[in-house]
Each structure stands twice: as C-alpha cells, then as structure tokens.
C-alpha cells in the first residue's frame, strides 16, 4: 500500500494544507464570544488611551481591585492621534478588535456617535444617566446622542488656559494684569517684540503638522460661537469667525507670530524658554505639562483666564475634553462600566485619577472637594484650578462639534494658511471654507 501509485500520503498532505488554509481564513471571522449580559464583574478588560490619561486610570486600578478582586485591567497607551485611526478602523470593521473601554476625544465623539451609533453602548443601560447632574451640562451633552443616549462619561473637561511669560512682560516694562482685551494684548506684543525680541504667539503657519487652529477656536469661542451653531449650521464665516481670523492676521502682519512647526517637541522648546514666545494658549491641562516639563521655569510662567475679545465679553472658553466609552463589541461590558463608574463617578476614583494623571475633571464633587483648589507655587501662588472652575461657570456656549468637525477644521486651517502665508482676506477665505464644508456635508450656512 505504501508504494501504490495513488500515493495516499500525498493526498493527505494536500488535503491538510487545503484544510488548514480554509480553517485559517474562516477562523478570522469566527469569534463567537457572546457579550456578557449577566452583569457579573470579573475577568479581564483592556483600556485604550494615551500617555497622561493612561497614568491617571492606572492609578485607580488598585483601589478598584480591592472592591472587585477578580478583575484584571490592562491600560494600553495607544498614543494620540494613533488611537483615532485605530478606533475608526475597529468600528468600521463592526467592532472587531476594539478594547473594552475607549478614551474618546470630544472632537471625535460626534462622529463616532453619528456614523456608528450601534457600536457604542448606551450607558443608560447601566444607569449612567444618574451621573448627569454631577457633570457640566455642555460636556455631558457632547457625549450624548440625539435622543439622550449616553455614549461616554466625561473624563477631562478642559477650560482654556492662557499662559504668559511673566519675566518677559516684566523685562519689557509691561503690566500684564492691565491688559483687558485682545487689542490691548497685541499692542503689548509690539512693545514686547521691540524690547525683548520675543514673539507674542507661536503657530504652525503652514498647518502641516498640527492642526494649528487653537488660537482661532479660542477667539471664536470667546465670542460665543464655533464652526457650527447648536442646530449644526455652519457659522465659521460669521462675524465672530471673521473677527477671530482678523486678530490672527493682524498679529501676523505686526510680526508677533513665531512660525513653529506644531510638534510636541517644539511645544516643549517654547515652554522651556529655549525659544522665547511670550504666551501659550491651550487647555487647562497644559499647566501640569509646563510644571513637569519645564521645572527650571518655575516662577517665570503665569496663568490667567483668556482676555476678552471685546471689552466686557467672555473671559472663559471650553477647550475640548475626553470621554470614556464602552464599545458594543466588548464581551465584558458590565466590568468595563464598573471600572468607568468607579474612576469617574466616585470621589475616591476621581481623586486617584486626578492625582495620577492630572487631567482636569468635570465631576462636581471633585471640583468642590477640599484641597482641589490650592495655591500653586510654580505659578507664583496662583490658584490655578480656581481659574478653570470660574471659566466653566461662565455662560460659555455649548460647543457643537458635530460629525463634520474634522472637515471644518481642515477647511479652516487651509484658509488660515492662505491668510498667513499669502496675506489673503479673512472674510473671503472663510466664506470659501464654509462653502466647501457645506458642499461636502450638505449642511447649510447659518444666516
């Protein structure tokens, strides 16, 4: 038999190769894990986030495990912005391969919630709506669906932080506290440039690395507007938007804007004073970054609320935030929710997360807790957190990112590049950008 002409061993070998191939291909789609619906809190969950917020969540794990000893939590630094592509790909693939807890930026939330509505768990199923009253209404709303579905619990709620170099202002003989509006600020910038050589702002003028729209978003926000209004109509070319871009153009024409490619390294260079730039506007989280990354600059940086655009206007603005969400594909939703609920919905968890990562929380009991507002020696005894709490308490507009934020942002940055590099007219360029967004999205321009 062994030497017969049909050589069965060959057939066996061929069949094995073929079967193995089929099995491999079929195996790709054969994940038969049923979502755990009985609500038992045990097993292993993974969390996708990036560096600093990851540190915060890790800090809450030991206390959580005391309550639920059987749970294992793996917090993974996927990196930002890499995490967005990873989540998008996973959602487009029907939820395949996603972690159990996703850290999602406010600017992506609308897109995920609108384009993949079945992919995120409506956390009302777990009673998340009870937490609503503890968070700022605007931040809560941006993590919710049109019919009140709760897709994410606010992790960070950022107010705008306006950081300035006290030493440079003093060297130029300027009194920072006396500056009231952005026009005053630009006047001061001219003196500052003359006396110290330092620029007032830094920006990636070409917009080829970062999105470089931070200053615009702050300025339009301070006037109570954004790219879109609450109804989702396009407002980026309204009078507030045009005024914002005109201020940026004026600063650039006066030579007050340093062209710095928008990388993290370059940000650190300016924060450490290796290249002198007198101000830096960002989310409140930057205070922690400055403190830890530029220890030698202690006492030289100051922090304040942003100046008003027009006299008596808003001096507070929302500057983004992030959420924790659970994808529907997670086989262990109950445990994922339990961890989110502990980390963000209890004072104990919030305290651990804040101490671990420094993300500015939105949880009211945390903001009101003793010791949260304390003088910060690095910033010359300023009560930094009080500034941000006051900003969030101002009547700032609900920032409607919509599902088309990324498109509007890109159109804006291109318009800004034309204004900064070629001296184009702000109104013309913003009209063109708004038109482009309208054409691509089917949204209407606000009257």
């Amino acid at each position: 038999m062994m030497f017969s002409k049909t050589k069965p061993w060959r057939r066996v070998a061929i069949a094995t190769v073929a079967a193995a191939t089929v099995a491999t291909l079929v195996g790709c789609s054969a994940q038969a894990d049923e979502p755990q619906t009985d609500g038992e809190i045990s097993g292993k969950i993974t969390v996708w986030t990036w560096n600093a917020p990851g540190e915060g969540l890790r800090a809450a794990i030991p206390a959580f495990q005391e309550l639920h000893p059987d749970v294992e939590i793996d917090v993974q630094d996927v990196g930002n912005p890499a995490i967005w592509e990873k989540i998008t790909t996973g959602m487009a693939a029907g939820g395949s391969g996603l972690a159990d807890v996703l850290n999602i930026g406010i600017d992506y939330m609308g897109n995920y919630a609108e384009k993949f509505p079945d992919q995120l768990v409506d956390l009302r199923d777990f009673g998340a709506d009870e937490l609503a009253a503890e968070f700022p209404a605007g931040a809560w709303k941006s993590g919710s669906g049109a019919d009140g579905q709760v897709y994410g619990i606010p992790y960070e709620v950022n107010a705008a932080g306006f950081f300035f170099r006290k030493d440079l202002f003093e060297a130029a003989g300027l009194e920072y506290a006396g500056i009231e509006t952005w026009d005053d600020l630009l006047d001061a910038g001219v003196v500052l440039k003359e006396k110290t050589g330092a620029s007032l702002f830094s920006m990636d003028k070409a917009g080829t690395v970062g999105d470089s729209a931070g200053l615009f978003e702050l300025l339009i926000n301070l006037q109570g507007a954004f790219y879109f209004n609450a109804d989702g109509e396009i407002t980026m070319n309204g009078e507030e938007g045009v005024r914002a871009l005109e201020i940026i153009k004026k600063a650039n024409d006066l030579g007050l804007v340093e062209d710095v490619p928008g990388t993290w390294d370059n940000l650190l260079i300016t924060l450490r004073g290796e290249r002198d730039v007198a101000t830096s506007s960002s989310g409140g989280w930057l205070s922690g970054v400055i403190e830890s990354e530029a220890p030698d600059m202690a006492g030289k940086w100051g922090v304040s609320p942003p100046k008003a655009v027009t006299s008596g206007g808003l001096t507070g603005a929302v500057n983004g935030g992030t959420y924790l969400s659970v994808p529907s594909s997670s086989p262990n939703q109950a445990t994922a929710w339990a961890f989110i609920n502990f980390a963000l919905g209890t004072l104990e968890g919030q305290q651990l997360v804040y101490d671990g990562g420094g993300m500015f929380p939105g949880f009211a009991p945390m903001l009101e807790s003793p010791g949260f507002v304390a003088p910060n020696e690095y910033f010359g005894g300023t009560e930094v957190n009080q500034i941000f709490i006051d900003e969030l308490n101002q009547d700032t507009p609900v920032v409607n990112y919509t599902s088309d934020y990324a498109r509007a942002l890109k159109a804006y940055v291109d318009a800004q590049t034309r204004v900064l590099l070629q001296g184009a007219d702000p109104q013309t360029e913003l009209d063109a950008a708004a038109e482009q967004v309208a054409q691509a999205t089917g949204r209407t321009l606000a009257e």
Partner: protein
C-alpha cells in the same frame, strides 16, 4: 515489499488506458494542481476580490445617520464637482511629470556606474542605494522632517554656507512640492537602478566590442548600445513609476500632511482623509475607483505608445 522490485507486465486493458493515465501523470489525480492553488485562490478571493467588490458597492452608498443607504452614482457626480479632488489630481500630475523623469534618468546613470568595471566596492554601493526602499515609513518621515526643518534642518545649514536660504522646505506651497520630489527620488531611485542593472547584464558584451572596434566613443556606446538594450526595463519602470506616483501617499502623509493649503494633497491622501478622517467611506471608495480608472487609462496609453515605437 519484494513484489515492488518486479517490473510489472502491463495487461491489455492497462495498455488501452495508457493515454488516459499519462494525462494524470505520475499518478496524481486531476484535481491536484487546483488543490495546490487553492490557498492562493482563497487568499485572492478573501483579500483581493472581495474588497474590490465590497469597495465598489461602498462607492454606491452613503452613510446617513449611521445607516448605509444606496445612493446610486451620487458619489461620482459629487467627485466631478469637487475642486479639492481636482487639486489633488493636479498635484499628483505635476509630481508625476517632474519626478519620474528625474528619477529614471538618475537611475540609468547610477546603473551605468554600478556596472562599471572601474568602480570599487560595487556591492556596497548597490546595497546602499537600495536600502532606502526598505526603510520604514516612520523613520523615513522623521529623517526628512529633521533634514528639511526650516530653522534647525541640516539641509538649510549646509546651503547656508554658500549663502542660500533658509528655504521654508515644508512650509511653503511650492517648496513643499519640491521636498516631496526630493524625498521620492531618494526613496525609489535605487530600486529602479537595480532593475536597469539587471537588464544590462542581458546586453551582449560583443555589441560593446563591435562598437569599440568601430571607434565609438563611450557616450556613443551608451547611446547606441546601452539605451536600446535597456528598452524593456525602461518601459517597465516608466509604467511602474507612473502607477506608483498616481497612488502616492507615503511622502505627503509623513512630510507635509497634504499641506500647506493642499499644495501636496494627492489623490491617495484625499482618499485617506475622506475615509479615515471624515468617515466618508462611500466617497473615499468612489475616489479609489476613479483613481483605478485613471491609472488603467494612462497605463493603456503608455503601453500603446511604446508599442507603436517598436
């Protein structure tokens, strides 16, 4: 076991079957070749054919509030009215017309140098020119970003010595295109040079000897012997480079992010933005199919042109 050593005497019936048995030579069943091909066929169907069909279907749909709806040719008509798509197409065309000729001429010169008998450490040179092709995208991006940085970049530092600059390599619409061309040339020239080098090995030495006897100069030998001999390789590299450039994504993605002001936006970048930034998968698929058609038409034209000349 001993019976196997005997030569079997074919019976009449077996003789009659002989032609049949020869077809399934050496005793393999007819299905055998297909079984061997099966893994490849399955992989092709799973990872090529299915995506092709799926993407085509996707290009006929749009996402309305999470629902995928059939939209007919709406994405294609939108494409024809989209100024950004034509910007991307124009940029890709400019880079194609400028970069591919520069690169291929350089590659031919390099190949001649690699082939030269007087060149020392030939293997080293060939390897070092080929290495860029295997360099990872991230390392590539970091390297060129560092080199072309306006304030601290090495390139501006060097040209500063001869009094030029500083040039805003990545921050100016025109220079950004130049940067992409430089980076692509660095990335792909070596690969083309290796293809030419391989082709040169097939040019008979007697042709050069004959040319030499006839008193042809080195340049005349290159022009009348080497270049015609390289013809098949040139046709191949022109078509491959054209297709590669039309699909250009890596360089604008890592160096300029398509900017400034869309000056280096390519069709590949625009497809990526629509798919993975704006989650507009239907439109992105339509861009992909439009690109496929464009590549098909251009390749066909090129093949025709080369055919007529020969």
């Amino acid at each position: 076991m001993t019976t196997a050593l005997k030569t079997p005497v074919p019976t009449r019936a077996e003789k009659a079957q002989a032609p049949k048995r020869r077809r399934s030579s050496a005793g393999y069943p007819r299905i055998t070749p297909y079984l061997f091909l099966l893994p490849m066929i399955l992989l092709f169907v799973g990872f090529k054919l299915y995506p092709y069909i799926s993407a085509f279907w996707l290009s006929l749909t749009k996402n309305v509030g999470g629902d995928v709806q059939f939209a007919g040719l709406a994405n294609y008509t939108r494409l024809l009215q989209d100024p950004l798509f034509f910007t991307a197409l124009g940029n890709t065309g400019i880079i194609l017309l400028v970069q591919v000729p520069i690169m291929l001429v350089l590659a031919i010169l390099l190949a001649v140098a690699f082939n030269s008998a007087i060149l020392k450490w030939r293997a080293f040179w060939r390897t070092s020119y080929f290495v860029p092709i295997v360099m990872g995208l991230v390392a590539y991006g970091i390297l060129f970003r560092a080199l072309l940085n306006t304030n601290e970049g090495f390139v501006n530092y060097l040209i500063g010595f001869i009094g030029i600059g500083p040039i805003p390599w990545l921050g100016d619409p025109m220079w950004a295109k130049v940067s992409i061309v430089i980076a692509m040339t660095w990335h792909y020239t070596g690969q083309n040079a290796i293809i030419y080098l391989a082709q040169m090995q097939s040019i008979g030495g007697e042709l050069y000897e004959a040319a030499h006897v006839d008193g042809a100069s080195a340049f005349q030998r290159f022009w009348h012997v080497t270049l015609p001999g390289l013809r098949p390789a040139i046709v191949l590299t022109v078509i491959l480079s054209t297709i590669g450039t039309l699909q250009l994504f890596d360089e604008p993605y890592v160096l300029t992010n398509g900017g400034p002001d869309n000056a280096t936006l390519t069709v590949g970048m625009y497809l990526y933005q629509n798919g993975f930034k704006y989650f507009d998968f239907g439109y992105a698929s339509a861009i992909g199919y439009a690109l496929t058609i464009i590549i098909g038409v251009i390749s066909l034209i090129q093949l025709r042109l080369f055919k007529e000349k020969s």
